[in-house]
């Protein structure tokens, strides 16, 4: 009880210093927490976007398809597998896809694009692409086609026009079909908007003579954090020569960018923490120095070294708690409106290519327990360590000198 009282009153003996030190702690806390909340807030949507527009959480392919996508490298018996997958816990949706590169012709132009055969109903559950429809309908009939805005514009196509698709089929012959453009999407990702045509998978497999085989089975799960165990379970029911991948393997650029971002920000946060901790160390040294005689008196009166140290540590911890709680409060107060309204990426000037990174129009910073605790704990460790080093002076100086010490 006395330890606490003495520590508390000592802090307020030098108000200005305590306020400055608390401000330094709060400053670092807020800066790091806000930075982290934006990071966390952007990773989620980025992963969500990447999986929803691209790979899905998990994906089954022929084991060699990823390195060399050849038409004949398919997943056999896909219907049976699709049914079995839905029984696996955590799996919420599955969708088959077949794909091939093809030449698109209209009267005067030709472009290359990926033709993807999809099951319209399943696709709605795994992908955002059907929802990003800007014109028409999503694959209403077996001879319909769905393409991106840029591709439609490049080819000069409008709804109801025929698209001529040309490529090789599975048996080496020419695969040709003439579906009708019934829907156009705008995803915001130029790559997708420029180079993708979806047609119903039955039609696709007819054209390419694939029967029931597909190239990919896209799987979405309920809890993306539990991906590994779900992946393992799926691995057990796979047909021979097929493999299951997670999105990190299929889109390494996304997970690598997240890691790179974490590392580079970690360095920045670390530097900031070191500078703030050193500033605080300095105030500890001053405060110990000024109170040399006081600490000497306490030792003379019979206070044990450890008790004395505990008393000083208590001061440091109160200081830390004060600074950190101010910091956390500011972070939370600042984050409530930010998290609610989000920040329009257009205001940062990054909206034009946000789609490239699968980011939404507005970014919502996100606070979780990590965001709240990392900075305070790092500062806490730093503060306790430096306070121990500073406190060493209390014992290095001899008692008789300490008792007569004049500031």
């Amino acid at each position: 009880m006395f330890t606490l009282t003495i520590a508390w009153r000592n802090l307020w003996r030098n108000k200005r210093r305590t306020i400055l030190t608390c401000s330094a702690i709060a400053f670092a806390t807020v800066l790091i927490q806000l930075g982290m909340s934006f990071q966390v807030g952007s990773y989620g949507p980025m992963i969500e976007g990447a999986t929803r527009f691209g790979s899905g959480h998990l994906q089954i392919q022929h084991q060699d398809y990823k390195d060399e996508p050849k038409l004949e490298r398919t997943i056999p018996n896909s219907k049976y597998l699709l049914t079995n997958l839905t029984i696996i816990p955590n799996v919420t949706a599955v969708a088959p896809r077949s794909e091939s590169f093809a030449l698109l012709n209209n009267e005067e132009k030709s472009y290359g694009a990926m033709i993807i055969g999809v099951d319209a109903l399943s696709e709605f559950e795994v992908s955002y692409l059907p929802r990003n429809i800007s014109e028409g309908e999503y694959l209403p009939t077996s001879d319909s086609a769905y393409t991106g805005t840029i591709l439609a514009k490049n080819l000069g196509l409008k709804l109801g026009d025929e698209i001529v698709l040309l490529s090789h089929d599975n048996l080496g012959g020419i695969a040709a079909s003439v579906p009708i453009l019934t829907g156009i999407f705008t995803s915001g990702n130029d790559q997708l908007d420029r180079s993708l045509v979806q047609i119903p998978i039955e039609t696709f497999n007819d054209i390419y003579q694939l029967e029931d085989d597909v190239h990919r089975i896209v799987i979405m799960v309920e809890n993306p954090l539990d991906l590994d165990s779900t992946k393992k379970m799926i691995g057990r029911i796979l047909p021979p020569s097929t493999r299951v991948y997670d999105w990190r393997e299929l889109m390494p650029e996304i997970s690598q960018n997240i890691r790179l971002d974490k590392i580079s920000n970690g360095i920045i946060y670390g530097t900031l923490t070191i500078i703030v901790v050193l500033s605080i160390a300095n105030t500890f040294v001053m405060s110990i120095f000024e109170r040399t005689r006081e600490f000497g008196t306490l030792r003379a009166l019979g206070m044990k070294n450890f008790a004395l140290f505990r008393m000083f540590l208590t001061e440091s911890i109160i200081l830390w708690l004060l600074g950190v709680s101010i910091g956390i409060t500011v972070t939370i107060l600042g984050n409530v409106p930010l998290a609610h309204y989000g920040i329009a990426l257009s205001s940062l000037g990054v909206d034009q290519f946000a789609g490239q990174f699968y980011l939404p129009d507005r970014l919502h910073p996100h606070i979780d327990i990590n965001v709240l605790l990392v900075a305070p704990l790092a500062l806490g460790v730093g503060i306790c360590t430096t306070s121990m080093f500073a406190a060493a002076r209390m014992y290095r100086i001899s008692l008789t000198k300490a008792l007569r010490f004049k500031e």
């Binding site: 006395f2 009166l301 008792l403």
Partner: protein, 230 residues
């Protein structure tokens, strides 16, 4: 037969290394008997404080031995010495050395807490000692707001409350006027006679010396006179 509670045998204290060596005390042997009120006198720099610090287990002699109650201080660990100071000794300093952030009463209670007394005991003992020293009115004032004489009396209360065997006072009157000094000496004498606490004080003030019943004079780190005052 009076008992010797503190004995110094051929004690020397040297500060510094070879080149800057200072002989603060040279070959001092003396003993303090229970119930005495002793003053250590001499000009400044003669080694009064050094001697007091050695007696009070605040410092260790370079040569020689200090015994308290038959135990050699030199053979005790740091922790044992700390306990000894806490339980057997009381200290009064020249500059009072009260904890500025605490009130008069809290300064006293603090020692009781170190001694492990319960909250209730702490309060009753503190009230008792502050009343006895005429400090009841200022008990709840911060130490920094008290006059010099009051501060020194709080310091004495703090030293007394642990019921020490020996009370050391290093130039207790240096920062006091003559009225306050006289009051302080009366108080010390009263403590000595009523409570039977042995007191050793270092002073260069003849007024203080007059109150004590034994004076040890130091010059250049040696005892030059040791006489009883009638």
């Amino acid at each position: 037969m009076a008992t010797e509670i503190l004995t110094l045998t051929n004690v020397s204290r040297i500060y510094g290394k070879e080149a800057t060596k200072v002989l603060a005390l040279t070959d001092v042997s003396l003993s303090i008997t229970k119930g005495e009120f002793v003053s250590i006198v001499g000009p400044s720099g003669c080694g009064k404080s050094t001697l007091l610090n050695l007696m009070g287990a605040l410092d260790q002699p370079t040569r020689g031995a200090v015994h308290f109650d038959g135990n050699s201080l030199g053979e005790m660990s740091r922790g044992e010495l700390t306990d000894l100071r806490l339980q057997k000794f009381g200290f009064v300093f020249q500059a009072f050395n009260l904890l500025p952030v605490l009130t008069a009463a809290e300064n006293v209670q603090f020692v009781l807490q170190l001694l492990g007394f319960s909250r209730r005991e702490r309060q009753s003992k503190t009230t008792e000692v502050l009343d006895a020293l005429g400090l009841a009115d200022v008990a709840d004032r911060p130490a920094t707001e008290l006059s010099g004489g009051q501060q020194q009396r709080v310091a004495i209360a703090r030293a007394l409350v642990g019921e020490p065997v020996l009370l050391f006072a290093d130039e207790p009157s240096a920062n006091l006027d003559s009225t306050a000094t006289r009051e302080l000496c009366e108080l010390l004498r009263q403590i000595n006679t009523d409570r039977g606490i042995t007191i050793v004080t270092a002073t260069h003030d003849p007024l203080v010396m007059g109150y004590t019943n034994r004076s040890i004079s130091l010059e250049d780190g040696r005892v030059v006179e040791d006489k009883s005052n009638p």
